[in-house]
Amino acid sequence: MDFALNGDQELLAQSARAFLKAEASPSLVRRLWDDPVGHCSDLNAKISEQGWAGLLVPEAHGGLGLGMLDAAVLLTELGRCLAPSPFLSSSVLATSLLSFAGSASQKRSWLPRLASGEILATVAWLEESDRLDPTGTVLRARRARDRFRLSGSKLFVLDAHIADVYLVAARTAAGLGPDGVSLFAIPRGAPGLSLTPLEGFDRTRRLFEIKFDDVVVERDQRIGREGAAWKHLQRMLDVACVAIAAECQGGAEHALEMAVDYAKAREQFGQTIGSFQAVKHMAAECFAEIEPSRALLWYAAQAQETSNKEASRAASMAKARLGEVYARTTNKAVQIHGGIGFTWEHDMHFWFKRAKANEALFGSPAFHRERVAALSGW
């Protein structure tokens, strides 16, 4: 028995941290904040060079063939520095969904290009209702002979402005249940498709609305079997939970470190504020939440290899817990910083904002607690 990272994972964590410290510093985050794209193609290229884009892609398709715990290790580091990168949207979510849902030939055609970083993909799932259950997927794909025609819109699509292809969930049959949901791969430039940025307070991550105005899709653009995509979306939801939980873990660790460092340096009333018991206990309470949550994250990541009920339950546990821990930690970290933590000039607010956005992304803590209850058979 050994509940720990293996040597390769330890190495991955260390090298990623060193790489990102150099390549994705807070000054890059700050520079890209007001950038219309918000991404750095240089950084993306270097990330591809590391092979990370193919981390979850099987070796047979040109990837590293690693698992969710490895991805979680990397996402922890990306979350720590808020690195602007399509790793989550393309290399984790879209890649996983393609792996789950795609036919053998579709995988052969897409995965090597995703693994090399040649193309980026993203998943378009949520709609106006912002619901993750089957009723949230309404967009209709009507069959017209050998083609499908899509009209409607998708919301909260990650990195849609730089993704080359969208994996779009749409209904090929009437109803609001899990049956009848299909998946389509649609290129960014498809006629009838338009993008609108969703301006949010967390500009380290860009979300979009995609409008479909009678977008025509060929039959071979359908990923996997018709009407059978729901279970793959559910499995991708688990992957998303673990991925975001990992980001939260890294972000929370970093925010607390910043606060502790500040508390050791800043003086008030003739002593460092870190010597006040109120500040010490605030920091200790954060640490007592963050430290054990890493074990929960690892367990949830590893459980994804099993594709059973426990995988979903553990993923929802990690998402619910880490989302709240990150939000609480950054709130306390701002408070420990005092007024300076409230300024634009100080970096602290980047983490504060990401934490709150992450809490909502792919399901609120309450949503995931209810999912835990259901999966526990209560």
Binding site: L126, S129, D130, R131, D133, T135, L155, F156, T196, L198, E199, G200, F201, D202, L207, E209, E267, Q268, F269, G270, Q271, F276, A278, V279, N331, V334, Q335, G338, G339, G341, F342, T343, W344, E345, M348, H349, F352, K353, K356, A357, E359, A360, L361, S364, A366
Partner: protein, 406 residues
């Protein structure tokens, strides 16, 4: 049918006070500007450009002409010597009608009362009239980078040189400094005296050479606060308020007001009403969000505390009106209200899910992006005006009588 709340606990206002409220309401409905946001700098007094400043000054003048500005001031200084009840009625109606805040509020609430109590006749004559009319806008120079919670450790120094002080140093969190005409300012005039004892309270013309104002952008992306740098700024000795080295006492006469501004129970009620409206408006799977059992619990818990703080403020107001010793100071209101405001906004974000982070310029944003902005701004208010930790120290030491910390 019995009256809503009968005597005993007497919540009725006098006929005259009710009349005051009615005529105020009538006046407000008639004079309120069409679009408040074009005239209102918000709680952080962050006016966008000269046109908005001019409009805001005009609004204060309109209010003043109607007799609704500085009603707490004595009549001889241009006020109405209004009772605490009338002040409360005015504050309530202002908030209820969402009237713009007054651009000159730091002069009206902080400097004015200070000059009336501690200023010379000449100072009053020179400064008070233009505070009322918004001809001169004041900013407050207390906080410094090295002295946040520990105000008494401030280091901006004013050295005597002939008939002048020469001021060097830096202030921070200075609301309205970017367009203020004057600053009331705490400076160190005696380097060797114990911390509280070497501080003086002086008035600085913001046009004096050697002053540099740099906007301090908040995490909301808005400015409103500033940093102010002083390099050999000459201030005539006649601009000293109160005794030399006696500025700490002068400032303390109005410090409590700052806490009260941050703990306005009307503002909290308004925020809560907005949240309830949001929950009733949003739909979740075909039903109103406000029908969800979890949401109802959170809303009820918040509403209970919001109402509780309203009644608590009535209790404090009653003690003030009737000249009873205050049972507790403003520390509880500051602590509870600012944290409650932030929690209300955080709840709104939670109800909004992925829509929560969308800011004002997004077409999908609810309430024009008010919630994410206020979610940030209210955390700032938890920190500003003495952090929650400082308020807890005050409660523990001054109210509960526990020993002062190391």
């Amino acid at each position: 049918m019995l009256p809503a709340i009968p005597a005993g606990v007497d919540l009725a206002f006098s006929k005259e006070d009710e009349k005051f409220r009615r005529s105020l309401r009538t006046w407000l409905r008639k004079h309120l500007p069409k679009r408040h946001d074009e005239i209102d700098g918000g709680e952080d007094l962050n006016f966008e450009g000269p046109a908005q400043i001019a409009a805001a000054k005009k609004w204060q003048r309109t209010m003043h002409d109607a007799g609704y500005v500085a009603i707490d001031w004595p009549k001889e200084h241009g006020g109405k010597a209004a009772s605490a009840v009338r002040q409360t009625i005015l504050a309530e109606e202002i908030v209820t009608h969402r009237a713009p805040g007054l651009i000159g509020q730091l002069g009206l609430h902080m400097l004015g009362p200070t000059l009336i109590r501690c200023g010379t006749a000449a100072q009053r004559k020179r400064f008070l009239p233009k505070i009322l009319t918004a001809e001169e806008i004041w900013c407050q120079g207390y906080s410094e980078p090295g002295s946040g919670s520990d105000l008494a450790s401030l280091r901006t120094k004013a050295e005597s040189d002939g008939d002048d002080f020469v001021v060097n140093g830096q202030k921070i969190w200075t609301t309205t400094a970017h367009f203020a005409d004057w600053m009331f300012c705490l400076v160190r005039t005696h380097a060797d005296a114990p911390k509280h004892k070497g501080i003086s309270y002086i008035l600085i013309d913001m046009k004096t050479p050697g002053i540099e104002v740099r906007p301090l952008v908040q995490m909301t992306g808005q400015s409103g606060f500033n940093e102010v740098f002083f390099t050999d700024v000459r201030v005539p000795r006649s601009n000293l308020v109160g005794e030399l080295h006696g500025g700490w006492a002068v400032a303390n006469t109005t410090l409590a007001h700052e806490r009260n501004m941050l703990a306005n129970p009307m503002r909290t009620q308004q925020l809560m009403a907005d949240l309830v409206r949001l929950a009733a408006r949003r739909n979740d799977n075909g039903g109103k969000v406000s029908r969800d059992a979890l949401v109802r619990q959170r809303l009820a818990d918040l509403q209970i505390r919001v109402d509780m703080m309203k009644y608590h403020s009535w209790k404090q107001l009653s003690d003030e009106i009737h000249g009873r010793p205050a049972s507790v100071g403003g520390a509880i209101s500051k602590l509870v209200t600012t944290e409650l405001n932030h929690e209300i906004c955080a709840t709104a974000l939670d109800l909004l899910g992925d829509y929560g982070p969308l800011v004002g310029r997004s077409p999908h944003a609810e309430d024009r992006g008010l919630w994410p902005r206020d979610w940030m701004f209210t955390l700032g208010m938890v920190i500003g005006g003495g952090t929650s930790q400082i308020q807890k120290n005050i409660i523990a030491e001054r109210v509960l009588g526990l020993p002062r910390g190391a």
